[in-house]
Symmetry: C2
Subunit: 369 residues, 2 copies
Amino acid sequence: MLLFSERLHVGVNKPVKKTKRATIEDVARKAGLSKTAVSFVFNGRSGVSAESQKRIMQAAEELGWRPDARARALSLSQTHVLGLVVKRDPSLLSTDPFFAGFVSGVQMGLAEHNYSLMLQVVSDTEAERLAYQQLVREAKVDGVFLTDLETEDFRPRLLTTLRIPIVVVGPPSHETENVAAVEMNDAAGVKRAVQHLAALGHKVIGHVSGNDKYVHTRSRRDAWIETLEELGLPQGPYISADFTGEGGARATHELLDLPNAPTAIVYGNDLMAIAGMFAAGDRGLSVPNDLSVIGFDDIPLAPYVTPRLTTVRQNAIEWGRCAALTLIALVENRPFPEFEMPPVEFIVRSSTGPAPHLPPAVTAPNHDR
Amino acid sequence: MLLFSERLHVGVNKPVKKTKRATIEDVARKAGLSKTAVSFVFNGRSGVSAESQKRIMQAAEELGWRPDARARALSLSQTHVLGLVVKRDPSLLSTDPFFAGFVSGVQMGLAEHNYSLMLQVVSDTEAERLAYQQLVREAKVDGVFLTDLETEDFRPRLLTTLRIPIVVVGPPSHETENVAAVEMNDAAGVKRAVQHLAALGHKVIGHVSGNDKYVHTRSRRDAWIETLEELGLPQGPYISADFTGEGGARATHELLDLPNAPTAIVYGNDLMAIAGMFAAGDRGLSVPNDLSVIGFDDIPLAPYVTPRLTTVRQNAIEWGRCAALTLIALVENRPFPEFEMPPVEFIVRSSTGPAPHLPPAVTAPNHDR
DNA sequence: TTGAAAGCGCTAACAG
DNA sequence: CTGTTAGCGCTTTCAA
């Protein structure tokens, strides 16, 4: 039976009767043994005869009993829950291919050790600070993940003060010193991208980065700069945008308005890159004939836009799994496991091509060699 | 200090010293009052003098104390945690704009009542069943959300048996009978889409749906069929795909290979729609001149593909918030709150246009009027 | 190999 | 208004 309205349905409010849950006591009684025995069996400890063990398992089965996580948490001073706080504009979150993959990976890691994930989405720094404080002070979690590190991030200090295990996920930076960190080399991806463009003959290679406050934004930009230097190419122009389509389109226009407009642009993510191609099209430019474009993330849509997007792919899932296993090891005070991380992939599709013969604007000054 | 490798960094394993947490006892002693007084103050109950209240708050502040969630959970037989289990191929998850918005909305609702969210991502039905069982049998959550309902879904029954409050999120169906449900009318969006196409003169309107097992897939397809009927148009061809880009492209080719190929296609999501446009382009068809395309979701990229995608937008955030508030009410055995849900939006961009004069294939048989 | 009993930190009767 | 006390369901020490 449902109450129907144009906008929303709500079914009957049939209160769920709270039937008494079976307890360890019940299981022990049914098995004719003590609580201790039951506890030992369910925690895989020796000291219970095979016979008793069987009786206990059967009793538990019949009662549908499993140790109560709340009671365990209190008794062990350990929740077996890890926290992930994500600060992001809700509308942007849906955009973020990293997030979903990372969370999936985290789950895989957690599942291997029977941990659970508590997720919190917040929209500003104040809420974020509060979220961490609550998580820790109310002992809701045993450890937390730190993602999207910012320059001068307050979280490593805060959480160290709060005395809770953390693992930082992201590119290396001075913020991650003295802290467990699963660091991925997304710089390598950008490097491959720039090298690819240089090999195609591009001389002016621009960059549209994400929001400047993020460590990973800097890390990618630095990689772009360094690679250009290594190749003996002049540093191209760049604009720091905000990871949104609108920002990417605007930045692209600004770059193309420049006197030394780039013939190729490396973007901080796929969304900006695709919006950038759109912007280029708006100006009558053809990708990749007039402009080459490279994204970052390899979203599922990347092979289905026109032209198909050349991009960098990171294995967010593996990254998440490693982060989870590392944090669990830290929480349990065990040595870190060894990981074999797949390398960053560079995927060439159709949005990159040879540099145009005639630069779209004034010839850029060509330094040495 | 960091150990560096090409693939992965792991920082120092500096074990966090477990310093003794302050307890309610400590706070009471420091304030010169009893535990009861402290408990009352922190649970907003009357019966403590303003003077005592102040002393308690100050003592707690100085000790950095907050009630331990684990102890509260045990004492109250209530975790203040709600569970969300998502069964999805990890690679597909990152695609799903609904998921992120929904989770954000859920958080908003939870935050209003100091609840937390436990998230679990699983990849198959067996893992899913196990996840729910654990969540409930180990009392890790007070209630759970059910999303992506399938036809003949085992979950409503399972969870009812397990005696835990649930709220189903999705379009109405017989699976949601006798169960609290926040139901959204995504059929209305499809209806608007079909009407829009009919108004543009399209006679053969096709449909590419998502995986058939989902209730929302059926709901959208039924809306497409019914609207066509209402408009006196013949039922167009449809293919049920799988929400992926590849599936969408393949389905589009199949549809366009048909003798009565559609001049317009309504897709079950944006990803398939965009891949469909790509497929059309591959065959030398121009969108919207030869084929009109409508998506579903309004992903951030929708305005930045060529042509800009006409689509349906649901307010996943509000949906999530409502679901959360409903579930909390259910858990606390309170009457359901009233909601004012924003209506589904239909967003016209450039991927839809007048029906072509000459159908791309054989003329479709034109029934009555 | 088994069991009794003392916590874990909080809430909530109940008595003062 | 304030304090005492008995749980909540489990783990774990210690003695049998």
